[in-house]
């Protein structure tokens, strides 16, 4: 047993987090900033954070992940990191020539109280920001929330610091993208195109973290939202945010500053969430949902009605980020599955509330917890007490899956031991079909593996 010390007896913990179901803010901010075209993310802290965040994102995407750091030393940690950031801004623009530097902070710079706004203003005043270039910043203290919060903070910073209003609407629908894979963003854009809606997706990681092998390294790949596009956010007709915990803050910022009304939706994982997204988008764009999209939905439903027997009543344990696991749970419930254990390391009262609403009818007694100590250690203990048929979450779950011999699907962030997540979507009707295919795949593999010879089936 790999996790040999994990026993069934659950003891209340207050001090110790074991095998977390979250990580810290700056990695989310770094990820979001990669969705800006020509942007170099910058970590204002000691360089270890930046190395770790780049490494983790690289392991997940198998792609270059560029970012710079202020490389704090002990001196800077005591007297402030202003000089480091000013030097960094100058060096970055001279050596790496980005259009935008997107600065985020760490627990170090937040604890000493560095004021990013003031330092960035000083850099501009001292002429360290070349004409036509930009420095934006988001405060991302690691001791608040999780990586989800960091993503949200950077998205809000993009909206606040770039969007302008000319006073004239431009007919555009902003789609604020919550934490999704490039493949999911591509799918959102495809569906919007099917509808004929004029949208601007931001941030946009397509063609940034799924770039082709060309024999040439582009420090700033083709994709990402450009500065003029981000300026145009303020003139949009409305915004649709996808992901309450990662995207809504961006939409709220646009509403507050530029009176762009918004609708806050879930990331469209599963039928219901995708239906809501399609209807909201159609309404915003003033169009009918085209036949092809309806047929696409129908194909998914057809697959579900065909295979219904394999889902019904299966118990599932889920862990991950709220914007992923909320619509996923809703989807699984609609498949007659039973999510009995759910954890998310991300704190916040609304998370458990939403999950409870979704589970109320079918699994009212499910174990649900989020925040510190809502970790994979606890999830594993729950599983020991009430075994499940399926485990869904990021790569860290493979240890539990192996020890308990549970069919396992990789979903969410990070996935560091498989590929596919950045190339094939989980959102929309097509993405939902892929989730279903994966669920069936592992459940049927298990049935095949365990069946005695006489009950081994050719047709399933």
């Amino acid at each position: 047993m790999l996790l040999r010390h994990t026993t069934a007896e659950v003891k209340e913990r207050e001090g110790l987090t074991i095998n977390p179901a979250k990580t810290c803010q700056p990695i989310g901010a770094l990820y979001a900033a990669l969705g800006i075209h020509g942007c170099l993310p910058h970590s204002h802290g000691s360089q270890g954070c930046c190395a770790y965040h780049r490494s983790m994102l690289t392991r997940h995407f198998k792609e270059p992940v560029m970012a710079a750091t202020s490389s704090f030393t002990e001196g800077a940690s005591v007297f402030g990191g202003q000089a480091n950031l000013l030097q960094a801004i100058n060096n970055i623009f001279t050596i790496y020539e980005p259009d935008v530097i997107a600065v985020h902070s760490t627990c170090l710079s937040e604890t000493i109280g560095d004021d990013l706004q003031q330092i960035v203003t000083k850099a501009k005043d001292e002429g360290k920001v070349p004409e036509g270039k930009f420095v934006i910043h988001a405060s991302t203290p690691s001791f608040v929330g999780s990586h989800v919060t960091g993503y949200s903070n950077m998205v809000a910073a993009m909206a606040t610091q770039f969007a302008e209003s000319t006073g004239e609407k431009n007919g555009q629908i902003n789609i604020v993208a919550g934490w999704m894979e490039p493949s999911d963003m591509r799918e959102i854009k495809r569906l919007s195109k099917e509808l004929g809606a004029k949208i601007l997706l931001f941030p946009d990681m397509t063609d940034v973290l799924d770039t082709p092998q060309t024999g040439k390294f582009d420090m700033y790949p083709k994709g990402g939202v450009t500065v003029p596009q981000m300026k145009s956010l303020g003139d949009a007709e409305c915004s649709i945010s996808l992901g309450t915990y990662t995207a809504e803050a961006g939409a709220i910022a646009l509403d507050k500053k530029h009176k762009v009304p918004f609708e806050s939706l879930d990331i469209p994982i599963g039928i219901d969430a995708t239906d809501r997204f399609m209807m909201a988008l159609a309404k915003a764009a003033g169009v009918e949902i085209p036949e092809e999209v309806t047929r696409e939905r129908g194909r998914l439903v057809d697959m579900l009605t065909d295979m219904q027997q394999y889902f019904h009543g299966k118990k599932v344990a889920i862990y991950g980020d709220p914007d992923h696991i909320i619509p996923l749970t809703e989807f699984l419930v609609s498949l007659d599955m039973k999510p009995v254990h759910i954890v998310s390391g991300t704190p916040g009262k609304r998370i458990e509330q939403r999950l409870r609403e979704i589970l109320a009818e079918t699994v009212p007694n499910a174990n649900v917890k989020n925040g510190p100590q809502a970790d994979l250690f606890l999830l594993h203990q729950w599983i020991k007490n009430e075994p499940v048929d399926l485990l869904i979450g990021n790569s860290h779950g493979k240890f539990i899956a192996r020890d308990e011999d549970i069919p396992f699907i990789r979903f969410g962030f990070p996935i560091v031991d498989r590929v596919g997540h950045s190339y094939f979507p989980n959102v929309g009707y097509t993405g939902s079909m892929r989730i279903v295919e994966k669920i069936l795949g592992v459940l049927m593999d298990r049935q095949d593996r365990d069946a005695p010879d006489e009950k081994f089936e050719l047709v399933m």
């Binding site: 047993m1 790999l2 996790l3 040999r4 010390h5 003891k11 207050e14 110790l16 987090t17 074991i18 095998n19 977390p20 979250k22 810290c24 803010q25 910058h42 000691s46 270890g48 954070c49 190395a51 770790y52 965040h53 780049r54 490494s55 983790m56 690289t58 392991r59 270059p64 992940v65 560029m66 970012a67 710079a68 750091t69 490389s71 030393t73 002990e74 001196g75 800077a76 940690s77 030097q87 960094a88 801004i89 060096n91 001279t94 050596i95 627990c107 170090l108 604890t111 203290p141 690691s142 001791f143 608040v144 999780s146 770039t211 092998q213 024999g215 390294f217 510190p372 860290h396 240890f399």
Partner: protein, 544 residues
């Protein structure tokens, strides 16, 4: 066969590497970029602060302490005191494998423990939360030892992890709790963390068990972290030779073995950078000499084993070592013969951590490949130029706060293992105790040695030299590969290995052969693109 390639003069290359930098940066980087002369190693600037914004490969002090040195010991429970990230990112991301002997034995390696500090702990202090976390860890896991690792905010808010550790050691009785002030901002790189880890282990663990273990030849292997099973291969070799390996720092190690590690007669040092402190301190306090070895490369493995046998001076041991070496070298020679036709004459570049950029040059030499540029992220001048320059190293303001322990010979246990005459005699036979000559003397003339290389410099080097293999880490991997150059990760081994010892050499030959001859690289250009590149004017000049 490779075609002879033409390159610009080295001085021009260096100029090119520095050209785009702001003046101050260029001046600083210039001292860390050295054109090698093996006969007269030049001074290189190393172990100084990173240029902000330059895109470094480096990590932090915490990574060096928890991630590298303490992480691999399976039964010390490591609690990271700080917000969640530091603990999360060091969770199973270094491949220090460990293999408990029984199903009951403690193994905390697959676990990640954190105090998960929140805003109120930053404001009001986190000592209470840390105390609670230790109590809970003890209650659930009953470990024999708990190590606490401080992260950036801990030092700033003034949490005293050492006081908490002392109090908890007293309270828990059968659990040794000790702390490391390895805040990420300490020093300038992972290196500071190694030093802090060495000090902590020496103060709190080494010397706690004075039993003399069985075995005629007892050694420790220092600075070997069992990445991809490297130590397993070395353990196999030691066992076959009749050597008792008491402890490894710290791959596949246990707390009990570390406590007893001062009772050996020789320390073998693999990674000089991370562990030379313990080697030195153990010699001063207990009289155990250390010998620099290199178990990377078939020839260097044999050479290191023979030196070790020579140290013990036992004829039976020497014969046994000879037998093992001959048998194993026959296998590696056969493997090499299969791979070398594909690798001969190709070019390698290595920019890795604090020791592998040197060690792995041996394997490339065996493959007939030339290392044209190499460097470390965080090594010090002695790792580049050799230990004899240590008295000339000036410790700058950024590193002066890293504690130097004052070690004295132990009144009871100090016992020199060799007399001065014996040490001289060994030296004459090439067994130089307490010596490391560094990377530069082993590199050819006109090769580049670059410390703390930046993204920009790597890109330029690749543009100019177009190496056949580039060795670095995961952050560099896909950047370099997008340029059409295969990258061998020499931290994680790209999830393969082992690469140490004889078996490891064979694995490495095969992996490099695969990498430099893979057909996949030829697929980069689509056929229609290729046609355009090869005959760009085809359509324009076509006349019907």
């Amino acid at each position: 066969m490779s075609v002879a390639r033409q390159y610009p003069a080295p001085s021009e290359v260096k100029e090119e590497l520095l050209k785009k930098y702001p003046t101050k940066v260029a001046k600083k980087r210039s001292k860390s970029i050295v054109l090698n002369d093996p006969d007269q190693p030049k001074e290189i600037q190393a172990n100084i602060r990173t240029v902000p914004g330059i895109i470094t490969q480096r990590g932090c002090c915490y990574a060096g302490c928890k991630g590298v040195v303490l992480g691999p010991t399976r039964d010390i429970l490591n609690i990271v005191h700080g917000p969640i990230g530091c603990s999360y990112y060091a969770w199973l991301t270094r491949r220090n494998q460990t293999k408990p002997e029984t199903a009951e034995e403690a193994n905390y390696v697959p676990y990640c423990f954190s105090t998960d500090m929140q805003e109120d702990h930053v404001v009001f202090g986190g000592e209470k939360k840390l105390t609670k976390a230790i109590e809970e860890a003890y209650e659930i896991f009953k470990p024999k030892a708990i190590a606490i690792h401080s992260t950036c905010p801990v030092g700033l808010i003034g949490d005293d992890v050492h006081a908490v550790a002392r109090a908890m050691t007293a309270k828990l009785e059968d659990c040794n709790v000790f702390g490391f002030s390895c805040e990420g901002y300490k020093g300038v790189s992972q290196s500071a963390g190694h030093h802090i880890a060495n000090n902590g282990l020496f103060k709190h663990v080494v010397g706690k068990d004075n039993t003399v273990r069985e075995g005629k030849f007892r050694i420790n292997l220092l600075g070997e972290y069992n990445i991809g099973g490297d130590s397993f291969e070395l353990e196999r070799l030691f066992e076959e030779c009749g050597i008792t390996l008491v402890s490894t720092y710290s791959g596949n190690s246990t707390y009990l073995d570390l406590m007893n590690s001062h009772m050996v007669d020789l320390n073998l040092v693999m990674c000089h950078r991370s562990i030379n402190y313990i080697g030195e301190m153990m010699e001063t306090k207990y009289g155990v000499p250390w010998l620099k070895v290199n178990f990377i490369g078939a020839e260097s493995t044999a050479k290191s084993l023979r030196k070790m046998a020579e140290y013990f001076g036992d004829e039976e041991l020497k014969a046994k070592v000879e037998e093992v070496c001959e048998r194993e070298l026959a296998k590696t020679t056969a493997a090499l013969a299969a791979s070398k036709p594909k690798t001969e004459g190709k070019l390698a570049m290595l920019f890795v951590g604090g020791s592998r950029a040197h060690h792995y040059q041996e394997l490339f030499k065996e493959l007939g490949m030339k290392t044209i540029a190499a460097g470390y992220e965080f090594a010090h001048r002695d790792d580049y130029e050799g230990r004899e320059i240590i008295p000339n190293i000036k410790i700058d303001a950024d590193s002066k706060n890293i504690e130097e322990l004052k070690i004295k010979p132990d009144e009871e246990l100090y016992k020199p293992r060799k007399t001065a005459e014996e040490i001289e005699a060994l030296k004459a036979k090439g067994v130089e105790l307490g010596e490391y000559k560094g990377m530069m003397p082993d590199m050819a003339e006109h090769t580049f040695v670059i410390d703390d290389i930046s993204q920009y410099e790597s890109e330029k080097l690749i543009e100019i030299y177009k190496p056949d293999v580039f060795c670095a880490g995961v952050k560099e991997k896909y950047v370099i590969q997008k340029m059409g150059i295969p990258l061998k990760q020499l931290h994680s081994y790209d999830y393969g290995g082992p690469y140490a010892g004889f078996e490891g050499a064979i694995n490495f030959y095969k992996d490099i052969e695969r990498m430099v001859s893979s057909r996949i690289w030829k697929l980069i250009d689509a056929p229609w693109e290729k046609a355009k590149k090869e005959q760009p004017e085809l359509t324009a000049t076509y006349v019907a």
